[in-house]
């Protein structure tokens, strides 16, 4: 029943040792700006709660200290995580890697892409960035989303991938 014929694996194109393209470094700035805006919420909450509770000075250091530590960590982590991201455009697929502790590499073959989307938020536009999203079948869990691309690169990628999708496929 079970057969396992040998496959000439050496002849397959490999996705190891590729020239990864980095994300736009300004994306780090954007992440930090978002972090700065986000941190306002817990800051307001802490100020409000400690004032209501009438907390005094040495104890006040605890929540603010924790918040500051988290903020500093996220500030540093933004740069580390962006540096760990990268993408490769190949003839028949696109690969994207991300993650510092849990690293992952997603490969999306062009002949499985349903549609392509670029989007940019007001922050993105301020920094000249955009996101590229590749949709395949099978749930949103892993639709490939690449944030922090230069806006014109995202547009070029979109057009290029669009041209590549759907080629050489028979209809069901």
């Amino acid at each position: 029943m079970f057969q396992n014929p040998e496959i000439p694996l050496e002849e397959l194109p490999t996705a190891v040792d590729l020239n990864w393209h980095a994300l736009d470094p300004t994306y780090i700035k954007l992440l930090r700006l978002q972090l700065g805006l986000f941190i306002i919420i817990p800051l307001v909450v802490i100020t409000f709660v400690t004032r209501e509770a009438g907390a005094e000075m040495p104890y006040l250091l605890i929540p603010y200290g924790i918040l500051a530590a988290i903020a500093i960590w996220l500030y540093v982590f933004a740069a580390i995580s962006v540096r760990h991201c990268g993408y490769v455009l190949r003839d028949k697929d696109m690969l994207f890697k991300k993650g510092v502790i849990w690293q992952s590499v997603v490969a999306v073959p062009f002949n499985r892409i349903q549609h392509v989307e670029t989007s940019n938020t007001p922050f993105d536009r301020r920094f000249g960035l955009a996101s590229l999203k590749l949709f395949t079948a099978g749930g949103s869990g892993g639709d490939l989303k690449i944030d922090g691309l230069p806006a014109n690169t995202a547009e070029q990628l979109r057009l290029h991938i669009l041209e590549k999708t759907g080629a050489d496929i028979e209809d069901a």
């Binding site: 694996l9 490999t14 690293q103 490969a107 002949n111 549609h115 669009l162 028979e170």
Partner: protein, 504 residues
């Protein structure tokens, strides 16, 4: 908007503002907690009375809604090209969406009462399997919707659908599988609902033992009073008997349900289409094209293990409409040999040579470090957290939470023992389970995306987790050697990218 071919940018009818307003409201309802938090903060912080605050907040929300809806409408533009439809939208977050006609599987139209009065419809495009953002064209005329539908259908190539045969023809086909009355009993016994009732009675019996005892005593006392001679032991016996009868009734009910649903069940292969017929009063007919199968799943629960039977499910791509359930074709009972035979038929011409029977010795194990990850994330971390939280209250007794590690170790061991995979050059089968077994098989060429994931620890040990995303959902193989995962990934990409066949 009258013609499709002018190639220019179009806006939809201003009534689309209603659509956008509904969308915004829906967004806020879905994210109610986050959306309402600032409102509550505002109400709490402001010194005015609650009613005034709510009125002011409500008015602000209403103004925001109207402004946003109008802007959404103004920003929404679309263009119908020769082969695709291009949508631009978004107020703050701007989005460009291309939908190729050949990707569109269905065009759905919806009408709310206002649109019905205005003879407008909202068109949504059903693209195979993608659960992501589907395109919507709100508030367009029905003629326009029809013309788009026509345009898309002309692009679609002629499908080579086998004409469905009639009932008379099906009788001529040799059945692949037929179920008899014994199988009905097996289906009934394996029905989870019977098991749940059983577990529930067992659970409540332990929980409310005292209550039961007092009932039994009361029952016994009454028996005494009526002159019957009965001891407490006999009372318990009576109670157990009653509980057993209840369980038996539920088992009988599920066996009855199995007869209703599957009586005279037969499975046929009609060209390249799988068909099943069965049922006592209502004849249930199902069919599925073999090409549409994404994954084959063989399931064995505890009862089924004891019966040495499985449930075989052929899973189709998830639909992108709102009930995100994946469509599937169920074969309720098969044994080892039947599962292999059916598998060989369902996965031809390319696959079907592998077995999905979980106890097959050809399954390769995954690394034992897999147990460590379960122990760590489901055992040690939660236990440590629980201990830290409870320590200030109960002191050293908090250490008792580490007993949690005992069941988790058991689970980790069982899950590792059951995890496994086997593959040939066309397909791969993944085995998993805790009490029972589950094996999922798929053809490499139908994979949608491949991901390799590694934690720091996995990298150190040269291990990786391979995830294959199918249109019917993801299948992952945890903790296999890194080089095997990478070779498999490269091979899957090669199979997918060199395949010219449709995956759905």
């Amino acid at each position: 908007m009258k013609t499709l071919d002018d190639g220019g940018w179009h806006r939809t009818s201003p009534w689309a503002i209603l659509f956008f307003a509904a969308k915004i409201i829906k967004f806020f309802v879905n994210n109610a907690w986050q959306a309402l938090a600032p409102l509550f903060a505002y109400v709490y912080a402001s010194q005015q009375d609650v009613v005034t605050s709510l009125i002011i907040g409500g008015i602000a929300a209403l103004i925001g809604l109207v402004v946003f809806s109008v802007l959404s409408y103004l920003m929404f533009r679309f263009r119908v090209g020769q082969n695709s439809i291009f949508i631009r939208e978004g107020v703050l977050k701007k989005t460009q969406l291309d939908i190729k006609f050949e990707r569109i599987q269905g065009i759905n139209t919806k009408q709310n009462p206002v649109y019905r009065a205005l003879k407008l419809v909202t068109v949504s495009f059903d693209t195979a399997g993608s659960a992501g953002s589907e395109g919507n064209l709100p508030a367009v005329t029905r003629e326009f919707a029809d013309s788009i539908r026509q345009r898309v259908s002309t692009v679609e190539k002629v499908t080579e659908d086998v004409e469905p045969t009639t009932d008379a023809d099906i009788a001529d086909l040799p059945p692949l599988l037929q179920l008899d009355w014994r199988d009905m009993i097996r289906i009934g016994l394996a029905d989870r609902r019977a098991l749940i009732v059983f577990a529930f009675i067992g659970g409540t019996f332990e929980q409310f033992q005292d209550t039961y005892e007092s009932w039994i005593m009361a029952f016994a006392t009454r028996m005494f009073a009526s002159g019957a001679d009965i001891t407490a032991v006999q009372g318990v016996t009576v109670f157990v008997a009653i509980a057993s009868v209840v369980v038996l009734i539920f088992v009988l009910l599920s066996v009855g349900a199995a007869f209703l649903r599957y009586h005279n069940y037969a499975l046929y292969l009609d060209g390249r289409r799988l068909r099943s017929v069965g049922g006592l009063f209502t004849r249930h007919e199902h069919s599925m094209d073999l090409e549409k199968i994404q994954t084959l799943r063989l399931n064995q629960g505890i009862v089924q293990r004891w019966l040495r039977r499985y449930r075989l499910t052929a899973r189709q791509a998830k639909s992108s409409d709102h009930n995100r359930a994946s469509k599937s074709f169920d074969i309720p009972v098969v044994n080892d040999a039947q599962s292999d035979e059916l598998r060989a038929i369902l996965q031809v011409p390319e696959g079907g040579r592998l077995t999905q029977v979980p106890r097959d010795p050809s399954f390769q194990p995954v690394s034992a470090f897999y147990m460590r990850s379960i122990l760590l994330y489901a055992g040690a971390f939660p236990a440590l957290l629980a201990m830290l939280v409870t320590w200030p209250v109960v002191g050293a007794r908090a250490l008792i939470v580490f007993l949690w590690l005992v069941p988790v170790s058991l689970v980790a061991y069982r899950r590792w023992k059951r995890a496994g995979y086997l593959h040939d050059d066309e397909e791969i089968v993944r085995r998993s389970g805790f009490l029972g077994y589950r094996t999922s098989g798929l053809l490499f060429r139908k994979v949608q995306r491949v991901t390799i994931k590694q934690s720091r620890y996995q990298r150190r040990k040269g291990l990786a987790t391979l995830r294959m995303q199918m249109a019917s959902g993801g299948i992952y193989i945890p903790y296999i050697p890194q080089d095997v995962a990478m070779r498999l990934r490269d091979y899957i990409l090669y199979k997918v990218e060199s395949s010219t066949k449709a995956w759905h």
